[in-house]
Symmetry: C2
Subunit: 221 residues, 2 copies
């Protein structure tokens, strides 16, 4: 058994897409987005244990999709929670081994490169928490009440996934009570005092949340 | 004569693209990127005065492209400067009228919507400086020396163009000496104490700086 675990969080309900189909199930080149995402982790290492987190009501539909698309990459399914935090916690609780490396990835980021996944896992040899980032292309403003001010964009990075952690470190971090400031897993781990090591992400690794994003991904794949 | 002026800044040399052709001249659906950009301002209002800023050595090539592509939207060409700041200043110095509204736009943002241009100009009835922004999709980290920390992304906006200004306000602001913190025109104007009014941009209005961006734009247009 590999010491690599990939938790792929697919909790979307599809409302932002203006469609009834949750965005992780939308077809990208004829195949659901989530299958493309899982494929990248399989391609990086066929022995990685894959855990997919889905809202309970979507599980039967997902299983049907797997049959229909002859999708045979082995993965476990875990029930999602009220928020992303609770979904990740459910997945972490489902892990029986006590040591390993965990990549936590958004199900709607199918364009993550195999190289970025590899780099994130590799850096866990030296660090307990790793996140891929890209430099913002646009200027950035900070908004406060009714006003805003320019900030130095060279001091900022946009954070992607997979965010990778030593298993014990991330499980320990997820014992904390939920806070609304936890926008990603790195922020949960950081709250425990653990520093986050940043690596270069791949720019095209966008989150598919709008029809425009789907077009982008179609163009890229 | 309209009281609307559009300054379209196209200073790129093409190095980031890994190509010899400056990115504003790359073909998007068979037509140079810069022509798509100009077209959007023409479509918003055919009477807007259009000023294109180009490096001097690229001017003959641009004129050839206009003939070749039968591009007949009337526009003035102004010589670019050492930095984007100096390029915009050259364009502002070329304006002879004393009152009006100026939109300053990146030549490599051909996907700006006509609606966003319209909204920016309209808001100049109530404000002297307007910029279109979008909410970041990713988490944001602030980097400091060798470390970084999560920040609350709901407090940040990514700034696009066109940034629109009352003519006198922007000309006055550009009398300031150049500072490296001037990453966009809003930051130049803000330095004078003038607040920037933010409006919703269109998400797809990306800057075309890499081959991936060109693919995105191809998929979108």
């Amino acid at each position: 058994m590999s010491d690599k675990i990939a938790i792929i969080v697919a909790g979307g309900s599809g409302t932002r897409m203006g469609t009834d189909i949750p965005k992780q199930f939308l077809l990208l080149k004829g195949k659901p987005v989530l299958m493309h995402t899982i494929q990248q982790f399989f391609d990086e290492d066929a022995h990685t244990q894959i855990i997919v987190v889905l809202p309970e009501y979507q599980m039967p539909f997902w299983k049907e999709l797997c049959v229909k698309h002859h999708f045979n990459i082995i993965h476990a399914i875990v029930k999602g929670g009220e928020t992303r935090f609770h979904s990740v916690k459910n997945a972490l609780d489902s892990i029986t081994q006590t040591e390993g490396m965990v990549a936590i990835h958004d199900g709607v980021r199918p364009l993550v490169s195999v190289d970025v996944i590899k780099t994130c896992f590799e850096q866990l040899k030296n660090h307990r928490a790793v996140a891929p980032v890209v430099a913002p292309q646009d200027s950035i403003r900070k908004v406060t009440n009714n006003s805003s001010e320019a900030v130095d964009r060279s001091e900022y990075r946009l954070v992607q996934t997979p965010q990778c952690f030593d298993l014990k470190t991330i499980q320990q971090a997820y014992l904390q009570p939920y806070e609304s400031s936890f926008t990603d897993d790195a922020s949960v781990v950081e709250k425990t005092g653990e520093p986050i090591f940043l690596v270069a992400g791949n720019k095209e690794n966008i989150k598919i949340t709008t029809p425009f994003d789907l077009k982008i991904a179609e163009g890229f794949i």
